[in-house]
Structures are given as structure tokens and as C-alpha cells.
Amino acid sequence: MTRLISLVALFALWQIAAHFANPRLLPAPMAVLAAMRSEAASGALFQALGVTLARVAAAFLLAMAVGSAIGYAMGRNALIDRAADTWVIVLLNLPALVIIVLAYIWVGLNEAAAIGAVALNKLPVTVVTIREGVRALDTRLDEMAHVFSFSPLKRLAHVVAPQLAPYFAAATRAGLSLVWKIVLVVELMGRPNGVGFEINTAFQLFDVPLLLAYALPFTAIMLVIETFAVQPFERHVSRWRPRAA
């Protein structure tokens, strides 16, 4: 309810600001809605959203899978941790733009370079988060699993995974917002379609309503994913925690 009121307040503020501002710089909400409607009618909006979402999903899944595996290995093995730590720090501090430009130069202006560059940007964040989780694993439960002869698979599913779930959720949340921001940059720089490409077009035409017509629905979709997928997942994995009185 508070969320809804704050959202309405945001639109009200926008409406008031648009009233005083140059409409070319800040169009009123209705103008943006009109642009959105015409883009939707031609199908261009949905096509761009679909393409961008597919890229977000691919880069996100790739980074989560590879990052979790590396983070797990680093958390479990001190030698691997020492060997890979410097690489992770370099990757963490390498500007996203550098990775994107190098990927396009080395791999070419194609889908693999685009998705790979985004995944590489998110990878170190996942590695560091999952490594933290692995370091915090309860060795007493490990010993219990050992004494009761749990198989490696059973140990992973019932002892390790539930302990890592909160870290996984944190990596998901931080990763999703990071990935979709970088996907737009990648699209702007080297893809012929997607929300980032459309925003570039709007920028060339100096068409702010068109720009917002693409940016807002995409933001809304990410908000929906956060609210209806990420948060329920977090609640699900922490359902066993006794609720605070």
C-alpha cells in the first residue's frame, strides 16, 4: 500500500514538473503513454522488450552458473582461492565499458560477444557473494552429514544448498539489476535491436517521449520480476526461520 502511494506521488510530481518544464526535455506522462501506445501498436515495443529480456536471461544465467561454481570452489579450497583471487579483483574493478569494447573487438559484433561481455561484468560479483556463503557454511552440519553417511548429492541438496540460498538470492537480486543496466549499454553500442538500440535511436532523434516509452516498461518488467519472483524465492528459502515475535 505504501509502495502504491509512493508510486502515485512520483507520477504526480512528474506531472507537475512537466507542466513547468520544456515539453521537449520533460514530456508529460500522457505524452509518454501516447508514444508507448504507438510503439506497442506497431509491435516494435514488444519485439525490443523480448530481445532485451532474452539477453538479460542468457547473460544472467551464464554468470550465475559459472560464478557459483567458481565461488564454491574458491570458498572450499584455499589454494584455488589464492590463485583466483587476483583475477576476481581485476575483473571487479575493470570498467564495464572496457569489457564490452574489448569483447566486440576480439569476438566481433555478434550475440556471443554481447552476452559474454554482460556475463563477465556480473561474474565477479557472483563469485564473491557465493564464496562468502561457502566460507560461512556450518562445519558442524558437515560433520553430521559425514557421520550419517550422506551421499555427496544429498549433502549438496540438503545441507549445503539451503545454507547458500540467502547468498544466492542476494547474488540474484544484485545481479539482475546490474545485468539489465549493462545489457542496454551493450545493445546501444553494438546490437541492431533491443531496448538499448531503440533508446539510442531516440537519442539521435532527441525524442524524449520515445526514450521513456522504452525505458519505463522495461523498468516495470524488472520491478515485477523482483516482486513476484526474487522476493517470493527469498521468502520460500527462509520459511523455516522462526518468525520474530
Binding site: 560433520e143 559425514h146 540438503h158 539451503p162 522462526p242
Partner: protein, 222 residues
């Protein structure tokens, strides 16, 4: 443990067990211990804090292999253990915690075990919702559920109030007697040792390698 004739025996011999401190010094915790227990027997390890009782339990459980000596376990021997803390999986219900350790247990067995330990009403509860006593009962149920040949109990009743501890001791004694297994109990409570054990082994703190044993035959149990 090995089979001698028909009987399962636990044979443990620890020539030396030492830890390396942060400064690199080697500190001896256990030395020159050897003991054996027969099928159906309960041995109690008793002694002050820091005398190496828990270390010895970890060796018997196979959690610590860095020692000089040997522990004979049967090839298909199953170990059930109750740790000082219940060590339940907090994200699994009471019943799931038991079933994960003993996947082949039948519904009848689960029901009987839960009834014997007063857990029947708590099957679906998560460990975080249990009292300390119920959590310990669950840990006991899990250890019994695997039908162990060797049952290890590391101060299973520590920090429980006396009446509750006595009640659990009675429940435990009944379960131990109904099964032919080898039980090793660590305690610092002599009453508990006398109530539950056939044989009592005393470990002293200083010097650490001093080791005595008393044979006990409680009339109630023979």
C-alpha cells in the same frame, strides 16, 4: 569393530593424539588408550572438561583420522551419533531430519521411535520451533533410526534441567536395551554413567594419558 565368532566388537587403540597450536607447539591430548566393547554393551567415558573425551568420540566417529593408533569398525557397520548440540538441519522438519539420515526406515519404525521419544506431535515442526529437550529427542531419534551398530552419545543431556535429563535417560536406557548395539556415552555426570553404562572409563586431565577402567554390572540390566 570386528567379528570375533558371532559377536561384534569395537576395538579402539589410540597410541597418541596431539594438536598443533598456533605457535607450532605439539600438545598431546590422548596417549596409550585402548579399550574394547562387546555387542550390547554400553561404555561411559567420564572425566573433567578438556581431558579429550570429545576428541576420542570424534576419532570413534571417523571424523578425525589424524592420530596414531587404530579403530576397528565392521565393513557394514552403521554409526549413529548424538552430538553435544542437536545439529539438526534447521530447514527440515523433525520427521525429514530423521528420514534423511535413515532413508530406508519404514513408517511403522518411525511411528514407534517417535512414540518412544515423545515426538509424535512434533513430526512436522521445524527445529527452530522446538524446545531444547525436544531438539535433543529428535537428535536421539535420528541416531536410533539408522539402526546403528555403534551408537555414539557425546554429552547428549548437557544443559538440560535435571528432571528432563532423568526422563530422557530413562527413555534412552529403554531404547539401548531393546537393541543389540555398542554404545559409547560421554558424560561428566557420574550418576548418568552409572545409570546407563556397563563399563565406565575414567579419563583424567593431568596427566592426560592416565586411563583407568571399572567394570560395572548394574543388576537392573543383567
Amino acid at each position: 569393530m570386528s567379528r570375533v565368532g558371532d559377536r561384534v566388537r569395537l576395538e579402539a587403540r589410540v597410541a597418541r593424539k596431539s594438536f598443533r597450536t598456533a605457535s607450532g607447539q605439539s600438545v598431546s591430548v590422548l596417549a596409550n588408550l585402548s579399550f574394547a566393547l562387546e555387542e550390547g554393551e554400553t561404555g561411559a567415558l567420564i572425566g573433567p572438561s578438556g581431558c579429550g573425551k570429545s576428541t576420542l568420540m570424534r576419532i570413534l566417529a571417523g571424523l578425525d583420522r589424524d592420530f596414531e593408533g587404530s579403530v576397528h569398525l565392521p565393513i557394514h557397520g552403521r554409526v549413529g551419533m548424538v552430538f553435544q548440540e542437536p545439529r539438526l538441519l534447521p530447514w527440515r522438519s523433525v520427521e525429514d531430519n530423521v528420514r534423511l539420515a535413515a532413508p530406508n526406515i519404514s513408517e511403522t519404525e518411525v511411528a514407534a521411535l517417535f512414540a518412544a521419544l515423545g515426538l509424535s506431535d512434533h513430526r512436522t515442526h521445524f527445529p527452530g520451533e522446538l524446545s531444547v529437550g525436544l531438539a535433543r529427542r529428535t537428535a536421539l531419534a535420528r541416531a536410533f533410526a539408522v539402526r546403528p551398530t555403534l551408537l555414539l552419545l557425546d554429552e547428549p543431556f548437557v544443559s538440560l534441567d535435571a528432571p528432563l535429563a532423568r526422563q530422557l535417560q530413562r527413555d534412552l536406557a529403554r531404547l539401548v536395551e531393546s537393541r543389540g548395539m555398542i554404545t559409547v556415552l560421554v558424560t561428566h555426570d557420574l550418576d548418568e554413567a552409572i545409570a546407563l553404562a556397563d563399563r565406565i572409563f575414567v579419563l583424567s586431565a593431568r596427566p592426560r594419558m592416565w586411563w583407568t577402567k571399572y567394570g560395572l554390572r548394574p543388576p537392573a540390566r543383567r
